[in-house]
Amino acid sequence: TSADYSSCRCQRCYSVRYLRERGMTGHMKRLIAMSAGASMLGRQIVHSDSHHGSLYSRPFIESFEETPMLVAVLTYMGYGILTIFGYLRDFLRHWKIERCHIAREREVQKDFVPLYQDFENFYTRNLYMRIRDNWNRPICSVPGAKMDLMERASHDYNWTFEYTGRVVQDVINLGSYNYLGFAENTGPCADSAAEVTMKYGVGVASTRQETGNLDRHEEMEKLVAKFLGVESAMAFGMGFATNSMNIPALAGKGCLILSDELNHASLVLGARLSGSIIRVFKHNNMQSLEKLLREAIVHGQPRTHRPWKKILIVVEGIYSMEGSIVHLPEVIALKKHYRAYLYLDEAHSIGALGPRGRGVVDYFGLDPCDVDVMMGTFTKSFGAAGGYIAGKRELIEYLRSHSHSAVYATSMSPPVVEQIITSMKCIMGEDGTAIGRERVRQLAENTVYFRKRLREMGFIIYGNNDSPVIPMMLYMPAKIGAFGREMLKRNIGVVVVGFPATPIIESRARFCISAAHTKDMLNRALSVISEVGDLLQLKYSRHRIQPSLARPFDDNVYEDIDD
C-alpha cells in the first residue's frame, strides 16, 4: 500500500485530482469544494480511519481557523498607525526635540561607514521597544511549573530597566519548554548530576576527537540509540549547532534540500551553509512536496540538467510556532517512492509525543528505521542542554569523523550528560519506577484538556489536538503587550510572539503545557485566560464547539486545496 495519489479512490484524493486536471486556481477550488457539500471551517484537516486507513492508525485532527476579516483590517490599521507614529518620533529625535536614548557611535569613529542602516532598526526602535518588557524576563528559581520572577521597572518607557529587588513568587509557568517536568533541583536526576559535578568537574576543555571523549559520553550515546530504537547515536553540545554543523556534512554541492516553509532558523542556516540548492514546499502540504519531488527528479539540476546526487527532505516533528505535527506517514511513503532521504528534527516532539514518549515516530506507530536521520535536542523534555543525531551505524561513523562539531568544538559538560542519562532512564522505565510513563500520560491528558477548554471558551487555537505547544491568536499589535502584562499582573507567565517570528498580522501567545502542571494550576490558568480574554476581547472564534456534544468525524470535510 503506497501513497499513490493518482490511484487512490477516496473522496478527498478524487476531488484533488478532479480540480488539478482542470487547472483550477486556488480560489476557484475553494468555491467548488464548498459547493460540493463540504463545510469549510477555514482550514481543517481531518484524516479519519476510513481515509488512507493504512497510513494513519489514529485520528489526526488539525485546525487553522482563518482570520476574521474585520480583525485583519483592524490589525493592518493598527500597524499603519504605529508606523506613522514611528516616523514622527524619528523625525523628532533627529531634530533633537525628543531626547534620544539609543546608544551612539564613538566620536572618534563618526566618519566610519555606519554600522547599522537606520531603516533596519525602524521596527526595533519604534514597535519592539514599546512592548519590550514582555521578553527577557529574568527568573531566579527552577523553571518548573511555578517559578519566581525578578521584578523589573522602567521609568523611561522600556529603554532601560531597573530591578526593584522584589521577587514575584509562584508565577505559573506557561512559557518554558518543560514538557515532562524534568526541570527540577531535587530528585534522582539532580542527585546524580551533583555526584558527577564533584567527581568530574564542570568543564572538559578539549574537543571530542582529542581528549574530550569521556566514558560518560559513550554511555549516553548508547542509551540514546536504545531509547529511539536505532543503531547508534551521537550527541553535541548545542541543539542549534547540531543542525547548522551537520547538515553541511550530509548534503553538499549537487544535492537538493526540500525544506518546509516554517522550518527553524538552525535548519535554514544549516541548509544554506551546505551549499546545496534549497527548495521550499508549503507548510505540511504533501501535494506541494510531491510536485517538487517529481519536478526535481525529472528535470535534474538547474541549467545543466544533470541528475541530483541526493535529495534530502527536512521536516520538523512539532512546529513550535504553529503547534502542528508533520504528516509523517505520508512523508515516509513519498520518500520511499521517490528514493529521497528524510531528516527529521524532533526538537519539540521527543519525549512529548507518543504513548511511550519516543517522539513523533512513536506517535504514528512507525518504524524508526524508515527515517534516515533523526535529530533532536535534550533541552526541552530532558531538562538538560545539547542535541543528538541518530540513525544507522554508517551515518554515525561518518559523522564521528567528519562533523564540524566533533573536530573543533568542545564536548558536553559531564553533569549535563549525567542529567540526560538519568532522565532518559526514567522515561524508559529502567530505573525501576513508573514515574516516566506516568509523566508521559499526564502530559497527554493535560494537553487534551487544556485545548478542549480553550476551544470551548471561544479562542482561536492553531495546531494539532495532541501537540503540547498551543498557539492562541492575538492578531493586534497592542494586544500583544496588553496580554503579556495582564497575565503577569495575575501571576501567570506566558510567552507572546509577534513579527518577525510570525507573519505580520498573525501574532500569538504560545502556551507550553508540562506534565508538572496539576489540574488546579491548569484550571486557575484557564479562568485567568478567560478573564483577560473578555477584557481584551480575544474570543474571536466563530465556531465554538458545544461542551456537551461529541463531534463525529466528518468525511465530508476537505483540506483547503491550494497548490
Binding site: V142, M150, K309, R339, E394
Partner: protein, 431 residues
C-alpha cells in the same frame, strides 16, 4: 469620412487596411510556443523517476580512518588524566589555569545546581534568562573594562553568530589566513566578500586596504554603505603566535575599518591581569569594536561571550542567531564561570606563573631532533611539526600518531591537531 474632405491618398488607405487585416490575423492565430518540443509525456516522466538512483546518504568510512576511534577518557580530565586505561600527565587539554579541578568552582556549581536544576528549558527571550546570566555578563564587562558583554551557550557558535549579525551581503571582510574554523563558518554564513591576507603580514593587509580605497574612490556612493571589517585572533590556534595589535589599530584609523578580535586562547592567559592581547600590548580597549572569546579554555567552563561597547553588543541581542534561537547556558556552568573569574581577579600571580612555565617548556622542547616547534615562548598551546615532510599527508599523520602513542606509553598525553581536510580553506601542515 466626408467625401468632400477625402484628401487621404489611396495608398494610405490601402496601407491602413492591410495593417488592420494583419492585426486581426495575429489576434486569431495560434500562439507559437518555443518549448513545445521539450514537454515530456507522463510516461517519460515515470520512466525518469524509476531510473534515478541517488548516491548513498553518507560515503562509507574505512575501518582504520584515523579520527574514527576516539580515545576514551575515564575520570576527570584534569592534570592527571586516564586515557584508555593508562594514567598520564595531561599535556593535551586546554586547561591553562588549572581550574578544571578547582574545589571552589565545583562547590559553586553544586550550589547552583541545587538552586536551579540543570537545564534552562528555554531561549533567553522566553524565561531562559536567569539572574546568574545577568551577573556573569556584568562581571565579564567589568573585568574586561568594557560597557557590556553577551553570553552564548556554545564556544564554537560565539564568533560564528557574531560576524553575520553585523556583516551582510555586500560588505567586505579582511581575514588572516590562519583564522580558525569557527571564524570561517561565520564568514560563510555572512555572505560578504572575504579577502585573505598572509598570516601576520601587515604589508599584505595594507596593500589590500589600499586597493579597496582606490575602488571606493571610483564609486563613492557604494562605498558610503559598504562596511569593512578586519577579523583577527589574539593567539592563533593554528600557529600559536600573536597578532600585531598596535599596527592593526593604526591601520584601522587610517583606512576606517572596524576590528573584531577573537581571543579564545589569549583570554585569561596574556596580559598582567589576564585581560588578553589588549592588556599585553597596552592598547585602549575601546579601540577594538568587538572582542569575542570562549570560556572553554582558561575559564574552565562551557560557552562563550562577546564584549565591547553597548552600541555594538546590543545589536546581537536581537540578531545573533546563536543567542536568539537557542537555549541559554545552563546556570551551573555560568556559576562556575563566575567563580573562575573571582579566582582570576583575586590572584593575578597565576598568569605570571603560567608564563614562566610556558617559557620553560618552550626552551626544553627547542632542540628536539626531527621536530620543529611552532609558536611563541609565552603561548600555552604549542605545536610540534615534522621538520621534513614525507610528501603525503596520510603517512605524516600516521607517523605523528605513532609518536603520540609512544608518548602515551611514557605516561605523557599529547594529541594530534585535528582538521577537517576538505573543509578548511588553508590547511595547516600536520602537527
Amino acid at each position: 469620412l466626408c467625401s468632400s474632405k477625402s484628401y487621404a491618398p489611396a495608398y494610405h488607405l490601402i496601407l491602413e487596411g492591410i495593417l488592420i487585416l494583419w492585426i486581426i490575423r495575429l489576434l486569431f492565430s495560434k500562439t507559437y510556443k518555443l518549448h513545445e518540443t521539450y514537454k515530456l509525456t507522463e510516461k517519460e516522466k515515470e520512466d525518469l523517476i524509476e531510473e534515478w538512483q541517488p548516491e548513498p546518504l553518507v560515503p562509507p568510512v574505512s575501518k582504520d580512518h584515523p579520527s574514527l576511534n576516539y580515545d576514551i577518557v575515564t575520570g576527570p580530565p584534569s592534570h592527571k588524566i586516564i586515557i584508555n586505561g593508562k594514567e598520564c600527565t595531561n599535556f593535551a587539554s586546554f586547561n591553562f589555569l588549572g581550574l578544571l579541578d578547582n574545589e571552589r568552582v565545583k562547590q559553586k556549581a553544586l550550589a547552583s545546581l541545587k538552586k536551579y536544576g540543570v537545564g534552562t528549558c528555554g531561549p533567553r527571550g522566553f524565561y531562559g534568562t536567569f539572574d546568574v546570566h545577568l551577573e556573569l555578563e556584568s562581571r565579564l564587562a567589568r573585568f574586561m573594562k568594557t560597557e557590556e558583554a553577551i553570553i552564548y551557550s556554545y564556544g564554537f557558535a560565539t564568533i560564528a553568530s557574531a560576524i553575520p549579525a553585523y556583516s551582510k551581503r555586500g560588505d567586505i571582510i579582511f581575514v588572516d589566513e590562519a583564522a580558525c574554523f569557527s571564524i570561517q563558518k561565520g564568514l560563510q554564513a555572512s555572505r560578504s566578500f572575504i579577502k585573505y591576507f598572509k598570516h601576520n603580514d601587515m604589508e599584505d593587509l595594507e596593500r589590500l586596504l589600499k586597493e579597496q580605497e582606490l575602488e571606493d574612490q571610483r564609486n563613492p556612493r557604494k562605498a558610503r554603505v559598504t562596511r569593512k571589517f578586519i577579523v583577527v585572533e589574539g593567539l592563533y590556534i593554528n600557529t600559536a603566535d600573536i597578532c600585531p595589535l598596535p599596527e592593526l589599530v593604526e591601520l584601522k584609523y587610517k583606512y576606517k575599518v572596524r576590528i573584531f578580535l577573537e581571543e579564545s586562547l589569549s583570554f585569561g592567559v596574556l596580559g598582567e591581569h589576564g585581560r588578553g592581547v589588549t592588556e599585553h600590548y597596552g592598547v585602549n580597549i575601546d579601540d577594538i569594536d568587538l572582542i569575542s572569546a570562549n570560556m572553554e579554555n582558561a575559564v574552565a567552563s562551557i560557552g562563550g561571550f562577546c564584549c565591547g561597547r553597548s552600541f555594538v553588543i546590543d545589536h546581537q541581542r536581537l540578531s545573533g542567531q546563536g543567542y536568539c534561537f537557542s537555549a541559554s547556558l545552563p546556570p551551573m556552568l555560568a556559576a562556575a564561570a563566575i567563580e573562575a573569574l573571582n579566582i582570576m581577579e583575586e590572584d593575578p600571580d597565576i598568569f605570571a606563573v603560567l608564563r614562566k612555565k610556558c617559557k620553560h617548556v618552550y626552551k626544553a622542547l627547542q632542540g628536539t631532533p626531527g621536530l620543529k616547534l611552532v609558536g611563541v615562548p609565552f603561548a600555552p598551546a604549542l605545536h610540534l611539526q615534522l621538520e621534513r615532510s614525507s610528501g603525503s599527508r596520510d603517512s605524516d599523520m600516521q607517523l605523528l600518531r605513532s609518536l603520540v602513542d609512544y608518548c602515551l606509553e611514557g605516561q605523557v598525553a599529547l594529541t594530534l591537531a585535528r582538521y577537517l581536510e576538505k573543509e578548511e580553506r588553508f590547511l595547516p601542515p600536520p602537527r
